[in-house]
């Protein structure tokens, strides 16, 4: 098994952090953008960019709603995203095992 087996969408420190955070939420939960940003210490622009990339891959769903008059965005991992994350971490674990003498 090589690095090439790793999902290129998740295989970046920033996007792995985003996906790992969303995967740590309960299944079926979505999180407000500012709270997610707080859990990641990323700038809003940076986070938006990564979310768009993950959304394009079908791993993340963003829902726009309103809280009173303020627009709010909620983010969740799709079933496909969760499967990809599980596969990714499993591959990492196997790579790590393989690397040990």
């Amino acid at each position: 098994m090589t690095d090439g087996d790793l999902d290129p969408v998740i295989h970046s420190a920033s996007r792995l952090r985003v996906v790992a955070t969303l995967a740590a939420l309960d299944r079926g939960d979505r999180i407000a953008f500012p709270r997610l940003q707080g859990l990641l210490d990323m700038t809003a622009g940076n986070l938006s960019t990564h979310l768009r990339r993950l959304e394009d891959a079908g791993y993340v769903q963003q829902t726009k709603t309103h809280q009173g008059r303020t627009p709010a965005t909620y983010v969740e991992l799709t079933g496909e995203g969760r499967t990809a994350f599980d596969r990714y971490t499993r591959t990492l674990t196997e790579l790590l095992k393989g690397a040990q003498p």
Partner: protein, 209 residues
């Protein structure tokens, strides 16, 4: 987009898994903290029931006096405020399954205690003695708490919460059989002590997580 990607050095497996663990920890630390809930109720039960026992020992009926009962009620109200504030703060910005389940669980607590209040009112109206009222009121309240802890513990797979529910029911059963005034002491040490032990166990589980 490319700019950020180039900043992101390719990960080695150990670093990747460390990121996953760190973020899981971070999310866990931002969610409802069972140590706060168990600890708050542990202290309040210990103090509240000990106070009732102290007043009952000095009362001719052998049951908690009006002022001691009022202080107990105020302590329970304080516990409710602390619990709801904590849960409200920690679950802000999260929607979906856990929120709708949480709302239903909250309503179940409310329904349980409404029923407990009405049953106690019925027992009082039927002319029960102070001791019968004290036993029924406490036994029913603890049954609601214990069963809900067991149900929530099973649902959220929090073993410490489930066991605490079993313990609360067992303690209340013993307190009911002991009767007043010593039943209050059973509640203070067993109930309050059990909740505090639950907080310590939750802390140890969290450190290992």
């Amino acid at each position: 987009m490319g700019e950020h990607d180039e900043d992101d050095a390719p990960l080695d497996p150990a670093a990747g898994l460390a990121i996953v663990a760190a973020q899981r920890r971070r999310v866990l630390d931002s969610e409802v903290d069972d140590r706060v809930i168990f600890g708050t109720w542990g202290v309040l039960w210990l103090v509240g029931y000990a106070l009732q026992w102290w007043s009952a020992e000095r009362s001719p009926t052998g049951t908690s006096t009006g002022p001691a009962g009022a202080v107990f009620g105020a302590l329970m109200a304080l516990g409710l405020v602390v619990t709801l504030t904590h849960i409200g703060r920690r679950s802000r910005g999260v929607r979906g399954t856990s929120r709708s389940m949480g709302t239903m669980v909250g309503l179940t607590w409310f329904a349980g205690f409404m029923a407990q209040g009405l049953i106690v009112a019925g027992v009082v109206a039927a002319g029960a003695s102070p001791e019968v009222i004290a036993i029924v009121a406490n036994g029913l309240a603890c049954l609601v708490v214990g069963l809900l802890y067991m149900a929530c513990g099973a649902m959220w797979r929090v073993r410490s919460m489930y066991l605490l529910g079993v313990w609360v029911i067992a303690t209340a059963a013993v307190a009911s059989l002991v009767g007043t005034p010593d039943g209050y002491l059973v509640m203070a040490l067993g109930g309050g002590g059990g909740m505090l032990a639950g907080a310590v166990i939750a802390h140890l589980v969290r450190r290992r997580a």
